[in-house]
């Protein structure tokens, strides 16, 4: 028996976006908020790059998406677990509040933008601005991230198992960045900091939550704010 067939026998609601309108799918998922009746496990077939798939969820449901998605998949997610078996375009899990979003492939830019809580896992690479203006969520990237990742990131963690592009952590506030590979360069007010045992433990926990226990948590470098630009000083004008 195939995995799909097994799933269908265990109360999984299967929705094919070639025959069901996105509006109908999202409305049915939204109707589950506040403990509304309905399936708790969903399988979305043929997303074909549709935008805003499974955005605005507010229920403890599991949504498996079989294929590539467009912009803003799982946007503003609360509590739900959304797994994309493919690639995701711009703004996956943007402004997520809680829950878990996993992308098995790569993501375009602004993955996890402004996310306040929850966990975003990208098993492949994430393009530019990954974790931009991060506000408390955790992001784990199995591959590399593009330029200006964690730009103005306020809190939460961005963990990158590969490399990071230019201007990493530009104008960062209190978010933490961990990178295992090379960093092209650091943005304004972002500096490398000592990786102490408590940070190794934090990396280990993040890797475990992301299902990447085989990665050595001690192999990362830590980056964060130098806090020199928190209050304007003319002496720092060259840094702006």
């Amino acid at each position: 028996m195939t995995a799909t067939a097994r799933a269908e026998r265990t109360d999984v609601e299967v929705v094919d976006l070639t025959t069901t309108a996105l509006r109908e799918l999202n409305q049915r998922l939204h109707d589950l908020a506040g403990g509304g009746p309905g399936p708790r496990r969903w399988r979305i077939r043929n997303p074909n790059g549709a935008h805003a798939v499974a955005c605005g969820l507010d229920a403890e449901v599991e949504v498996e998406i079989e294929g590539h998605v467009g912009y803003y998949c799982a946007g503003m997610n609360k509590r739900a677990t959304v797994r994309v078996h493919g690639n995701a375009s711009t703004g996956i899990a943007e402004n997520m509040m809680s829950g878990t979003v996993v992308v098995e492939g790569n993501t375009s830019q602004s993955a996890g933008a402004t996310a306040h809580g929850g966990l975003l896992v990208v098993r492949g690479d994430a393009a530019a601005r990954c974790g931009i203006a991060l506000k408390g969520a955790d992001i784990v990237v199995g591959g590399s991230v593009g330029h200006l990742s964690a730009f103005m990131a306020q809190s939460g963690c961005l963990l990158v198992c590969g490399d990071a592009g230019e201007a990493l952590g530009d104008s960062i506030y209190e978010a933490r960045i961990y990178v295992r590979g090379e960093v092209s360069d650091l943005g304004a007010d972002c500096v490398e900091k000592e990786l102490r045992p408590e940070h190794v433990e934090q990396v280990r926990a993040l890797l475990e939550r992301a299902g990447m226990e085989d990665v050595d948590p001690g192999a990362f470098h830590r980056y964060g704010s130098a806090r020199r630009l928190y209050n304007f000083s003319i002496d720092n004008a060259g840094a702006y």
């Binding site: 996105l22 509006r23 999202n26 409305q27 939204h30 935008h51 805003a52 955005c55 605005g56 507010d58 467009g70 912009y71 803003y72 946007g75 503003m76 609360k78 711009t90 703004g91 943007e94 402004n95 509040m97 602004s110 933008a113 402004t114 306040h116 601005r129 931009i132 203006a133 506000k135 408390g136 730009f151 103005m152 306020q154 809190s155 104008s171 506030y173 209190e174 928190y230 209050n231 304007f232 003319i234």
Partner: protein
């Protein structure tokens, strides 16, 4: 006066003072309020009124309706307002909690909507605002899906008139514990808001973003797009093509809580210049009145409201004038303003957080000076006066609804205003331009 005591037109005393301040302090001037320079404005237009060929309406007998509905294009629940004046977005952080509450109370009493701002929605604001527009800003401070759904409309802020192309700033002394918590930032730091949205770039992305906002809210809420007056013809067309239900156009006179003076005075075009271009864009798309146009930036009186409507706006929005109605720059605080090196009528240090009127502050003691119930009453009174004045002018021009005012009712006092508003110079039939 001696020939040698002539003041330089190029270097008058206030310019000299600013050069010397810059030399002392080494930082550009950051302030609140809006542009202080004189630019062509609604004062440069006059209504013609009725005559033998135009039939007026009786002032206190015949109806002149003022209702306006915003968001009729796609939203399932448009905003139905009793008056064509709304309260513009102003953040909790820039404004005190009592000030935000007062704006909500006043708007509700007058039958219109108010708007959140950078930093998110406060419970007081939601509780006291019957109709509340929720801004989606580049910073996304305090942004969350619950408030998005609690709102009555959504406003995607692309820019504001005081600083088209500029992000926000809230200086450290206004970052109280509550503001810091709402914005996920450390207390006391200078908070900068990005000038670009973090997850979309350009009109094609904006269309997808608006689509997401509609999906998030089940196509219930009207989606506004707010732009600063930079290239209004193109920006309005792009906003409409991206799916906006309502376009909010903010001219360069629009206020700000904290921006560089050089930005306020030198970027963007006047409200009068922008308005006709925005209407052109809507008319060419065949969507004038179907996509509503809200205009802000320098609205002070019913005359301004009526002239904006006559030139094609569906409603106007007030920010600075609403703060003044609450008591900002009131002579009753003159002594306190003077202690801060300013005076009533001149105070623009809204960024500093020491507002004696308790409006642009996060200091609990100062904020407590503003009674939100009394403030709400003042806002409602002011909104009613704006509406009555607008009706007076509309009736004088023979209109039974304020939306029936039209450019044909207007003439201009200056060549510049005639060219911008595309109405004749008074006493002539000359409209400058091609």
């Amino acid at each position: 006066m001696s020939w040698h005591l002539r003041e330089s037109a190029l270097f008058p005393r206030h310019v000299i003072a600013e050069i010397q301040r810059a030399a002392r302090e080494g930082i550009y001037d950051i302030r609140g309020f809006g542009a202080k320079r004189a630019v062509p404005h609604f004062d440069d237009l006059l209504f013609l009124g009725a005559s033998i060929s135009r039939y007026p309406l009786e002032g206190y007998r015949e109806r002149c309706d003022t209702d306006v509905t915003l968001g009729t294009r796609f939203a399932r629940k448009p905003l139905r307002l009793k008056i064509p004046v709304t309260i513009a977005g102003m953040s909790f952080g820039a404004l005190s909690a009592p000030a935000k509450e007062a704006l909500g109370r006043g708007a509700t009493e007058a039958g219109t909507c108010t708007t959140t701002g950078d930093g998110g929605m406060t419970p007081e604001e939601r509780e006291h605002s019957r109709l509340l527009v929720y801004q989606v800003l580049p910073s996304r401070y305090g942004a969350n899906p619950d408030d998005l759904r609690r709102a009555d409309a959504i406003e995607v802020v692309v820019g504001q008139g005081a600083k088209p192309g500029g992000g926000g700033m809230l200086l450290g002394h206004k970052i109280s514990d509550r503001v810091a918590a709402m914005r996920d930032l450390p207390q006391g730091i200078d908070q900068r808001s990005a000038c670009r949205h973090p997850d979309w770039t350009g009109p094609d992305d904006l269309e997808i973003k608006i689509g997401e906002l509609r999906e998030l809210t089940d196509w219930e809420k009207p989606v506004f797009v707010k732009i600063g007056a930079a290239r209004p013809y193109f920006d309005v067309q792009l906003a409409v093509k991206a799916g906006a239900d309502v376009v909010v156009l903010d001219g360069m006179q629009g206020g700000t809580a904290a921006t560089q003076d050089v930005f306020i005075e030198h970027v963007g075009i006047p409200t009068l210049a922008a308005l006709r271009l925005a209407v052109d864009a809507l008319q060419e798309l065949g969507l004038h009145r179907q996509v509503q146009l809200v205009v802000s930036g320098g609205i002070r009186s019913g005359a301004d409201v009526a002239k904006a409507l006559a030139l094609g706006a569906d409603a106007v929005s007030i920010g600075t004038a609403a703060m003044i109605a609450l008591g900002d720059n009131s002579p009753e605080h003159d002594e306190a303003y003077r202690a801060l090196g300013s005076a009533a009528g001149f105070y623009d240090d809204w960024q500093a957080g020491r507002d004696p009127a308790g409006i642009s502050t996060q200091d609990d003691e100062l904020a407590a000076r503003l009674d939100p119930i009394l403030g709400g009453r003042r806002i409602a009174n002011y909104l009613r006066v704006l509406t009555l004045e607008t009706q007076t002018l509309a009736r004088a021009n023979g209109k039974s609804h304020v939306h029936n005012l039209e450019p044909e009712d207007l003439v201009a006092l200056t060549v510049e205003a005639a060219a911008m508003a595309r109405v004749p110079l008074a006493g002539t039939d000359w409209v400058p331009g091609p």
